[in-house]
């Protein structure tokens, strides 16, 4: 049964790749999220200042403002500690993953990903 649009949780997908955003959108919509997109950290910051999402799927390496910088700024925004933030990056070095967690990320997905991995990680982050 389709959810009432008013009950949908908002997820902001932040990635400079249109293809990744498209794949993530399809998976997240299947999991019951309403999805918004941003192409870099600065665009994402403007987005959260107008509507704070429940979940942010966040790339690391992006032009203008990278994911880590965005995360630091997000957590300083009013209400910015509320969204679950799941990094989604090609970075698979454990030190980088540790760094993301230390900066306030709730979970971490290494690309490439599929629907099962996203669902598993969102469950672990408490976003599902």
């Amino acid at each position: 049964m389709l959810k009432d649009p008013a009950d949908l949780k908002l997820c902001l997908v932040v990635d400079d790749s249109r293809v990744v955003r498209k794949v993530a959108r399809r998976i997240l919509e299947d999991l019951g999220f309403e999805v918004a997109e941003a192409g870099d950290g600065a665009e994402a910051l403007a987005w959260v200042r107008s509507a704070m999402p429940e979940l942010i799927l966040l790339d690391w390496n992006m032009p203008v403002m990278n994911g880590l910088e965005f995360l630091q700024k997000l957590r300083q925004e009013p209400g910015g500690d509320a969204p679950k933030v799941v990094f989604c990056s090609v970075e698979s070095d454990l030190d980088r993953i540790r760094q993301a967690l230390d900066q306030g990320a709730d979970e971490y997905i290494m690309k490439p990903f599929d629907g099962d991995i996203v669902a598993s990680k969102l469950m672990l982050a408490g976003a599902l």
């Binding site: 698979s92 454990l94 993953i97 967690l101 598993s120 672990l124």
Partner: protein, 262 residues
């Protein structure tokens, strides 16, 4: 023939109609053993002297689906309720835990990680992992997992805490890897040589067994439980006659000895 061999050797239920399953599981074994096709490999199994090949086929056909921390609530209950209760009652010696049919090791290592986090330097524990399949055991013993495998059920915090990384593969820390001892076990065999266990975890497996084999395996596992011990199955596993723990789906108490079939 494959269905018959699987039934005879390990009590496995194999649907001969599922030809894709035969291709998927036996294809890699056939190639490894130098056969041109699965058909050629299966033909070679009619020679009874090919015991090693027959076992390779049966092992490959046994269920392999697994993940770290599958059904997380079950792990929470084991770590926060079952093991503390068992530890309280235990008078001497370590608590003995067995992850039976543990496949490539995720189940046993999930227990090892959770227990290390909950009681570092606390209760003395022995964790034992087993599987029917030699090749899966080799992977379990190596404790090295792909990027795909460490993202199924394992949190990023546990990943950075318990693994050492590389670009594509992730190796368990020696501390966790050495906490588990491995052995090939056919659960239809006499298990008395393994001793008794306070906790046996055998999840999501009964559905892959023929009915007689399921009775026999469950009776064998009950027989391997120490008095007061606990058997943990999957919530949907079928286990008629076992003493279920109320309000804890999949958890069963040690009960009076049940005679194994056969």
């Amino acid at each position: 023939m494959i269905a018959r061999l699987c039934a005879q050797r390990a009590g496995l239920k194999v649907d001969p109609e599922k030809t894709y399953l035969l291709e998927n599981r036996l294809g890699p074994v056939a190639r490894r053993e130098g056969f041109a096709s699965v058909h050629e490999f299966v033909s070679a199994l009619s020679d009874r002297s090919q015991d090693r090949l027959i076992w390779a086929a049966v092992e490959a056909m046994s269920a392999a689906e697994t993940a770290f921390f599958r059904d997380p609530l079950t792990f929470e209950r084991i770590v926060n309720e079952t093991l503390p209760n068992l530890a309280q009652r235990r008078r001497a010696g370590p608590l003995r835990i067995w992850a039976a049919a543990s496949g490539t090791g995720q189940e046993a290592y999930s227990l090892a990680m959770a227990l290390e986090e909950s009681a570092p330097g606390g209760a003395s524990l022995e964790i034992f992992g087993s599987d029917l399949c030699e090749r899966r055991l080799e992977k379990a013993q190596a404790g090295v997992y792909s990027q795909f495998e460490v993202q199924r059920g394992l949190s990023a915090r546990r990943l950075v805490r318990h693994f050492v990384g590389s670009e594509e593969d992730f190796a368990l820390s020696p501390r966790v890897r050495q906490a588990v001892r491995w052995r090939r076990v056919n659960l239809l065999d006499d298990l008395s040589r393994l001793g008794q266990f306070d906790l046996i975890v055998y999840r999501h497996q009964t559905g892959h067994l023929l009915e007689d084999a399921r009775h026999r395996v469950l009776a064998n596992l009950q027989g391997a439980l120490a008095p007061g011990g606990c058997l943990v199955l999957g919530e949907t596993d079928v286990a008629p006659g076992l003493a279920a723990v109320p309000g804890r789906p999949g958890f069963y108490r040690h009960s009076s000895p049940v005679r194994a079939f056969g």
